[in-house]
């Protein structure tokens, strides 16, 4: 054991003799490992942000939207149908079997309108929906309250403002109780949402929410379609438990098919999970792409190690001959040279982690469209990068070391 410790020290000594060369070799690995960690952190950061935004919408949500329609053999795209109605939502909310699985089915319509209040005006998203909307969508109220069932049934002219809208229209004063105008209709502000932050459905603080009944009457003046019920853009369904998602999707499908009397679905149901999976897939490809570009530099660093080790073996042929003549066995020569390669790559790997953290932090100070680039250094990226660098050290170190170990001592001693 004492022998291998001594040989380890011998290897360190050899590295310290060729300081500049060792430094440059280590640098190759540092840059490789550092860029892998930094690039993967960009991918992971993007993933994390998108996931957070999707989760920001709410929990265990299903989105039911109108599907495509066939018109004389011509298939129009998804959303082209005006098939989803307010009564569909009512039906979902009154089916006992489905109700055992879901907490609420919330229909909503939205449109962009100019909103006027307090002498200023602002273009924003106006959403008409039911009294359950705010909690299904994870909103908190900063002030006032959401409209209730009575106000909904009466189609009251009341509105709840998103945080951005409140800031734009009423920067100095309390918006509660004030009037705002949307088109010709006047609304009384009864609540303001707490700031929610960016979500996957766009800026969720730049909204005005009113009862769906009022929306139909005053905003779109909607003509009732099919059976007298007005159409809606989307019905959001919150499922009570995550593992009932699939059951709920099937139950909803059955109800809607029955109500619409169609063989081919004229609606589509997407779950939050689908959105997450899609987002993960996209960011996964993105991460892989960035990681493999950086990975190339790691391999180049490894080839650098092999190159240096081969030069070093050739240069030290005579030394190897002397060591063999005084009794070094193959495995001892192998160990000495392999130690050099592994020390270089592991040192490079450790410094590379520091560089990776530094780069990742640096990247996160840059902004795109006023938004910081999110980065997240994940432990598995560190493990991967350092593991790969250690393996590279072994892999690219073994060949030169084996060559050194196999040298014939007589020829090695004769080498000039």
């Amino acid at each position: 054991m004492t022998k291998y410790l001594d040989l380890f020290l011998t290897a360190l000594q050899a590295l310290s003799v060729n300081r500049l060369r060792t430094f440059l070799t280590v640098l190759g690995i540092v840059i490789g490992v550092g860029s892998v960690i930094a690039m993967v952190s960009v991918g992971r950061g993007a993933n994390e942000q998108i996931t957070a935004r999707i989760q920001n919408i709410g929990t265990n949500l299903l989105f039911i939207g109108p599907g495509q329609v066939q018109q004389g053999g011509l298939a129009l795209g998804f959303g082209s149908a005006q098939t989803l109605t307010y009564d569909d939502a009512v039906a979902l909310n009154s089916e006992p079997e489905l109700l055992s699985m879901i907490t609420a089915a919330v229909p909503f319509n939205q449109t962009f309108r100019q909103v006027v209040g307090n002498g200023t005006n602002w273009n924003t998203r106006v959403i008409g929906t039911t009294p359950d909307y705010w909690w299904v969508r994870n909103y908190q109220l900063a002030a006032g309250e959401f409209f209730n069932q009575q106000q909904f049934d009466a189609a009251s002219a009341v509105a709840i403002l998103g945080a951005d809208v409140a800031d734009q229209l009423f920067p100095e004063s309390d918006p509660i109780g004030q009037n705002i105008r949307i088109g010709q209709a006047t609304f009384r502000v009864i609540g303001v949402f707490a700031r929610k932050g960016a979500g996957a459905l766009g800026n969720e603080d730049d909204v005005v929410v009113i009862p769906l009944t009022t929306f139909f009457r005053s905003i779109t003046r909607q003509v009732a379609a099919r059976g007298g019920s007005p159409t809606v853009n989307t019905i959001i369904v919150q499922v009570a438990e995550r593992d009932r998602m699939q059951d709920a999707i099937e139950a909803i499908g059955a109800i809607l098919r029955q109500r619409h009397r169609v063989s081919q679905d004229d609606f589509i149901i997407r779950s939050q999970e689908d959105m997450l999976a899609l987002a993960n897939q996209i960011t996964g490809i993105f991460t892989l792409l960035l990681g493999s570009i950086a990975g190339i530099s790691l391999v180049v660093g490894g080839i650098g190690i092999m190159n240096i080790m081969l030069v070093s073996v050739t240069e030290r042929t005579r030394e190897i001959g002397i060591r063999k003549a005084v009794g070094a066995r193959r495995r001892e020569i192998l160990y000495q040279f392999l130690t050099e390669a592994v020390v270089v790559s592991v040192t490079g790997g450790l410094l590379g982690i520091l560089l990776g953290f530094g780069l990742s932090r640096l990247i996160s100070t840059f902004e795109i469209n006023g938004q910081r680039i999110p980065t997240l250094v994940s432990p598995d990226a560190i493990l991967l990068a350092v593991g790969v660098s250690a393996i590279i050290g072994l892999f690219f170190g073994i060949y030169p070391a084996a060559r050194a170990a196999r040298l014939n001592p007589i020829e090695a001693l004769r080498y000039e």
Binding site: T2, K3, L7, G321, I322, R323, V326, G327, A328, R329
Partner: protein, 246 residues
């Protein structure tokens, strides 16, 4: 035959190198016995096969045919690593070009064979210092090869050869790169080791002058031993040195 086997027993040893199509016979059938405590010179012009013989005796190379018994062990069939072990424990080399490692201090040079023998650092250091004092370099422990004269470097090499208490010291043209005074010094050290410590020393040389410092001269020519006789009046390097200085 005595009860104690000879240190070296070569029986009809040949060595043939094949250089592509051509086969070169370096040793054509050599038989030799060397007993413990002898001081032997192997002499011959270049191409006589003396270097090949030295490589085989030093377990750096193996014979094509014939037997080589070192202290009764047949080393002809041993693996690379087993030969390394024998070189480490039983043989000390002194080369014409010293073959010291360029960046090590004198003590570290002497410690080198002991590292491979697995001797712990403090023991190693103590013994290295002792050996350097023995060859008269007690005041040069921390010098690197570039800071030492040729004669001093060769004395470091001799101390290194002695590190693991070998049964045999093989000196290949040990004075080939030295001036006459340094040569005499080196020969004096080798003679003293042989006389006072009973170390078996084999000196390979092409110079008769050098060979006459030993007590037995083996002459080689064309891969064969042509003469093997005792030298009854070996030159004493120490007195020669004394005369020169006087």
């Amino acid at each position: 035959m005595s009860a104690v086997p000879p240190l070296i027993l070569l029986q009809d040893v040949t060595k043939v190198y094949s250089l592509g199509q051509v086969e070169v016979t370096a040793l054509a059938g050599v038989s030799l016995e060397v007993n413990s405590g002898e001081l032997v010179a192997i002499m011959g012009p270049s191409g006589s096969g003396k270097s090949t013989l030295m490589n085989i005796l030093g377990c750096l190379d193996q014979p094509t045919s014939g037997r080589y018994l070192l202290e009764g062990t047949d080393v002809g069939r041993l693996s690379d690593d087993e030969l390394a072990l024998i070189r480490n424990r039983k043989i000390g080399f002194v080369f014409q070009s010293f073959n010291l490692l360029p960046r090590l201090r004198a003590v570290e040079q002497v410690e080198l064979p002991m590292i491979y023998a697995g001797i712990p650092r403090p023991v190693r250091r103590r013994r290295a210092v002792e050996l350097l004092e023995l060859v008269g370099l007690g005041d040069r422990l921390d010098h690197r090869p570039t800071q030492l004269s040729g004669g001093q470097q060769q004395r470091v090499a001799i101390a290194r050869a002695l590190a693991n208490n070998p049964s045999l010291i093989l000196a290949d043209e040990p004075t080939g790169n030295l001036d006459s005074r340094s040569s005499a010094e080196i020969l004096a050290v080798l003679q003293r080791l042989n006389r006072e410590r009973g170390v078996t020393v084999i000196i390979v040389t092409h110079e008769a002058d050098i060979a006459h410092h030993t007590r037995r001269i083996v002459q080689m020519r064309d891969g064969l031993i042509v003469r093997d006789e005792p030298n009854l009046n070996p030159v004493d390097a120490e007195t020669a040195l004394g005369k020169k200085t006087a």
